[in-house]
């Protein structure tokens, strides 16, 4: 019989030799940078065109997101249906996403079909026309979707907590109303498109099984576009955080749960505390074995899940706790959250727990370095933040070497209830 009370020996993740596989880089004739990682077991790839066209640069609310959304809705030679039909016919998935600093066009495709798809993407970047009729449908449907979303306590809470931390006039803190949608004009989209897409700054990331002539292919379709890799941006915003720290809102009289958000400002990736705080965040609320999960879900059963995380923004960030809890236990959930902060302030975490958290983080890092589709997002994040592989190796060294004392110092510095904005939306 097996002695089941004794755990098998483990290979300590601290001893893993974690390496970040490098990318390849080439430059198109017009100076646009292309980063590639070749590999994988399937004949597929993912291309991401990243533009500096997020809401950071818009003068009017929702212009950046609308421009991005409508990139697929018609060019001088193809209407919206024909664009979609073309990508669908080749089994490809074309998506676009708008963030704060950047926005993207993203293509998932079988590698063999690339030559059919790239010319149409070039067309979208240079020749989108934003038809009025398409804009009208978009406005109407977005307004209707907004009405549905505003019924959800989590949606409302996500908008408001960002406003409290950053201020409504900051790109990270603003959100959209029906009036904003109604106010969008086609000309504004066209102007934004010309400046930030057609003549904008673009960086291209490609991961997967690459055709051998990828460099030539990319140069053929994108190398002579009027993109401007040297475009500079100097828009700055000031934070205008809320003065009231605690808010309680009833969004739905009959709601059976409350969305709780607790957040504070936090330095960016460039700050020496950032990686250390990621370790502390894991201990606090970053994974299933965190203090918040163990106490508030696994001991009290107040919620299906509670998480803490540091937002991945470029200019400013926030450290946030997020959960949906039973209506009658919202207050108790907040109280327990502060108790957990307090404990991290007062008590050193045990060596055993620190060891577990380090191993967990390094193990999941190992998993996140598995294959080109996993590695590229990490590189993209570094490149867009002007970081390189030293950041990666320094982060690993920090995780491996950090002590319980250092974590306590950080907790005293950052996990003080009085520094947090606190919001409950029923």
């Amino acid at each position: 019989m097996q002695n089941r009370t004794i755990a098998p020996n483990i290979f300590d993740a601290i001893d893993f030799n974690l390496t970040l596989n490098p990318y390849q880089h080439f430059t198109l004739d017009n100076g646009t940078s292309v980063y590639t990682i070749d590999g994988g077991t399937q004949e597929v790839l993912h291309i991401e065109f990243v533009f500096y066209a997020g809401n950071w640069y818009e003068e009017k609310n929702i212009v950046a997101a609308t421009t991005n959304y409508m990139l697929k809705n018609g060019t001088t030679t193809k209407n919206a249906f024909e664009v979609d039909e073309h990508f669908a016919y080749y089994g490809a998935y074309l998506n676009r996403y708008c963030y704060n600093e950047t926005s993207t066009i993203s293509l998932h495709s079988l590698s063999k079909n690339l030559p059919h798809l790239l010319p149409v993407i070039a067309e979208l970047i240079t020749d989108s026309i934003f038809p009025n009729e398409e804009l009208a449908i978009y406005k109407k449907n977005q307004i209707q979707q907004l009405a549905i979303n505003l019924k959800k306590c989590d949606f409302v809470a996500n908008r408001l907590i960002d406003e409290y931390v950053y201020g409504f006039h900051h790109p990270y803190g603003k959100y959209t109303s029906t009036l904003d949608y109604q106010a969008i004009e086609r000309d504004e989209l066209l102007a934004y498109f010309k400046e930030y897409y057609t003549n904008g700054k673009c960086i291209i990331f490609i991961a997967g099984k690459l055709p051998s002539d990828i460099e030539q292919l990319m140069n053929t379709y994108f190398g002579s576009l009027p993109l401007n890799p040297n475009k500079t941006f100097n828009k700055e915003y000031h934070l205008a955080s809320a003065t009231t720290k605690k808010q309680f809102i009833i969004n739905d009289e009959n709601g059976v749960q409350g969305a709780i958000r607790i957040a504070r400002k936090f330095p960016t990736k460039l700050h020496p505390d950032y990686t250390k705080a990621q370790v502390l965040n894991n201990v606090f609320g970053g994974f299933f074995g965190s203090h918040l999960m163990k106490n508030i879900r696994e001991d009290k059963g107040y919620t299906y899940g509670i998480h803490s995380f540091i937002q991945n923004h470029i200019h400013e960030t926030a450290w946030m706790i997020s959960t949906e809890a039973g209506r009658d236990v919202c207050e108790a959930t907040i109280e327990e959250t502060y108790k957990e902060m307090d404990l991290l302030n007062k008590e050193l975490i045990s060596e055993e727990e620190l060891h577990l958290v380090k191993n967990f983080m390094l193990g999941s890092l190992l998993g996140s370095l598995d294959g080109p589709f996993q590695i590229m997002p990490r590189w993209r994040n570094y490149i867009l933040n002007n970081l390189d592989e030293t950041y990666f190796y320094n982060s690993i060294a920090t995780i491996k070497n950090i002590t319980a004392e250092e974590l306590q110092v950080l907790a005293k510095k950052y996990l003080n209830p009085e520094d947090f904005y606190e919001l409950t939306v029923i």
Partner: protein, 411 residues
């Protein structure tokens, strides 16, 4: 092509090993052949609640999660109407930790009262978060109940009502464990940077002495063929009227299932699909519209679900959907359109196969369906479907006597 080796232990546990030396990780996936369809109609939501309890400590190991995390691993699980699946991914060197943990909870749970008390609450919060506190959150409770008369697909995995979860007892837990969580009712798939010989040895070491249980023979009622249209109208505090319609389709491995899957792509796959183009873009009757099915193993439902543009009457919206269905049931689709939906399907399958987790998961699913090698024949099954098959199947299912409809009105 997903290669694998198979092996069966003397206690009936089925093992499949898929070697992939390109990854540093390993996946351990255990599928138990029990889902919400195996529940008592008065104790629904139990298979899913039980899934939560599987993390509440086993007979020799107080915590499942901590040793796995210490070995650099992560895990999760899900319950469907058909099955319950547990998976973890960890550095391949530490795979024995996963076997130790999984085998101990297959041997016996700790049956902790505290765990049951807490997880009942956690699951109730999950129920509220997804099905009560969300606009339209109850729509699938209503639709399953309407569309099925006797088959246990009548209820959702989360359960019919909160009280079923609240009233679960420790006896229920123990009985459920002994009935379903036996090696001969499970499929173990190991994938990643592993060696089959070594894995067989380790699996024998950890799982070999777990006693087999009584063979579970599933005896759930067959849904009789629907004889007439079913209809329900209701009102709720939502901003837009919604329309949802379902039609019964074939079971997972039948040819009809593959035709139905392609039909959902033709009608609802992306923005160039028929329903989106005709009803959202051209006629502007819907703010959004979707067509999908759940991949059920037994005869499932093909669904069309949409939110209506404010001011549009539900009858006009419904008539427009019916026109599209008549078109699909009376005219053969163009070859070009069939190629499109097959290409999309090929892409989805190829992208899915990138992750070892998904490969392990699929091997377990097809083994449950009777033959793991079917995992490599899926694309062929889709390729065999012709434009005539699509026409014939559309005629078979899009019949008003095979349809259930809910008009979900805004107050």
């Amino acid at each position: 092509m997903i290669q694998y080796n198979s092996y069966t232990l003397s206690n009936g546990l089925k093992l499949l090993v898929h070697e992939d030396a390109s990854t540093p990780m390993a996946v351990v996936n255990i599928l138990y052949n029990v889902g919400a369809k195996d529940e008592d109609a008065n104790k629904t939501g139990f298979a899913h609640l039980f899934e939560h309890l599987m993390f509440g400590g086993s007979i020799n190991i107080p915590s499942y999660d901590e040793p796995l995390q210490r070995a650099g691993g992560e895990n999760n699980a899900y319950t469907t109407n058909d099955l319950t699946n547990y998976y973890c991914i960890l550095p391949a060197q530490n795979i024995e930790t996963a076997f130790w943990l999984e085998s101990d909870r297959m041997l016996s749970l700790a049956f902790s009262k505290k765990s049951l008390d807490v997880q009942r609450k956690v699951v109730c919060e999950e129920f509220k978060e997804h099905y009560i506190n969300k606009p339209y959150g109850d729509i699938w409770h209503k639709m399953r109940d309407l569309a099925y008369d006797v088959h246990p697909y009548k209820w959702m995995t989360i359960g019919k009502e909160l009280s079923h979860v609240e009233n679960a007892t420790m006896d229920d837990v123990k009985n459920f464990f002994l009935k379903f969580y036996r090696p001969n009712n499970a499929i173990l798939v190991v994938a990643g940077n592993v060696d089959t010989k070594n894995i067989i040895q380790l699996v024998e070491k950890w799982f070999g002495d777990i006693p087999a249980g009584e063979k579970y023979s599933r005896n759930i009622p067959t849904e009789p063929k629907q004889q007439q249209a079913k209809f329900l109208s209701l009102k709720a505090d939502v901003p837009l009227d919604a329309l949802i319609k379902t039609w019964h389709i074939d079971a997972r491995l039948n040819k009809g299932y593959y035709a139905a899957d392609l039909i959902t792509e033709i009608l609802g796959g992306g923005n160039s699909s028929r329903l989106y183009q005709a009803l959202v873009k051209e006629k502007q009757l819907f703010a959004n519209i979707n067509c999908f099915h759940f991949g059920s193993l037994e005869p499932g439902l093909l669904t069309i679900e949409g939110k209506l543009t404010k001011g549009v009457s539900i009858d006009a919206a419904e008539k427009a959907i019916e026109e599209e269905l008549i078109k699909l049931s009376s005219e053969k689709i163009q070859q070009q359109e069939l190629i499109k939906v097959k290409n999309r399907t090929e892409s989805i399958i190829t992208f899915e196969d990138i992750s070892i987790m998904s490969r392990a998961n699929n091997l377990a699913l097809y083994e449950l369906l009777g033959d793991a090698s079917l995992v490599n024949k899926e694309l062929e099954r889709f390729q065999e479907i012709s434009t005539e098959d699509i026409l014939a199947y559309a005629q078979t299912i899009f019949n008003k006597n095979n349809c259930s409809t809910i008009h979900y009105f805004s107050n």
